[in-house]
């Protein structure tokens, strides 16, 4: 499973980078989202996979019984997902504003800081 996920992560990264390198600024945002998903999956997979055992201490027990999924990558990813959403919103609105000011959708036309 790890090997399969490794290729999925690689594929998502490749797609994300290809879109980020393109000219369309809309596709650039799509690329950023894909990169974010890929990064989350990378942390998740690199931490080791455990099937169907959430890191929860069962009722009556004092600690979780192995095997259980590693809680640390999960805590990292959880905040990353929500922050990713906030940053994506900001990026989208920024793109929208840029388009309205500059009138172009093409990153190759945005070569200076002056609008």
């Amino acid at each position: 499973m790890e090997i399969l996920l490794a290729f999925l992560i690689g594929g998502l990264y490749a797609a994300g980078f290809y879109l980020v390198l393109g000219r369309s600024i809309g596709k650039l945002i799509v690329g950023l989202v894909l990169l974010g998903q890929a990064a989350n999956l990378l942390i998740f997979t690199a931490g080791g996979l455990t099937r169907a055992h959430p890191p929860i201490v069962p009722e009556g027990a004092l600690e979780a019984q192995p095997p259980f999924a590693d809680p640390i990558p999960q805590a990292l990813i959880l905040t990353a997902i929500v922050i990713g959403f906030g940053v994506l919103a900001f990026a989208l609105v920024l793109v929208d504003r840029t388009f309205q000011r500059v009138g172009t959708y093409d990153t190759d036309d945005m070569t200076s800081t002056d609008a």
Partner: protein, 135 residues
């Protein structure tokens, strides 16, 4: 794109989703859930309502300004961290009441912190989406 069915559904769904979000927040310390998820569910509920009935009405239903919500949440989280300082403990040490409260279970500063997270997530998400819909 106003739809009668959506409008009617949203009116029913809002209280249910909102209650669910509170439920998620409260049980989050022991079972899947917590401030992040709860805040997102609540935000989804209000956004759904806003799409169905217009942002004006959704805002009216919320009563509070979304940015104030965000600010209160941040302050609450910070305050829960500062509280232990008064007792001579380190910043953000978890303090708990001895006796459990009915329904809510045990109360402590981490629960207050999680409520802060809930409010920030709700406030930030709604600030973004409401303003975008209005723009």
């Amino acid at each position: 794109m106003r739809s009668l069915i959506l409008a009617a559904t949203a009116r029913f769904l809002l209280p249910i989703l909102f209650m669910f979000s509170i439920f998620l927040l409260v049980r989050g310390h022991h079972l899947p859930g917590g401030g992040f998820v709860g805040g997102l569910v609540a935000a989804a509920a209000f956004v759904l309502y806003g799409i169905a009935h217009g942002v004006e009405e959704a805002r009216a239903l919320l009563r509070v300004n979304t940015i104030s919500l965000l600010g209160v949440g941040l302050l609450l989280a910070l305050a829960s961290g500062l509280l232990p300082l008064a007792g001579g403990e380190a910043f953000m040490t978890g303090l708990w009441f001895q006796h459990p409260v009915p329904v809510l279970g045990k109360l402590g500063t981490p629960v207050i912190f999680d409520t802060g997270v809930y409010l920030v997530v709700l406030g930030a998400t709604l600030t973004v989406l409401f303003n975008l819909v209005e723009d």
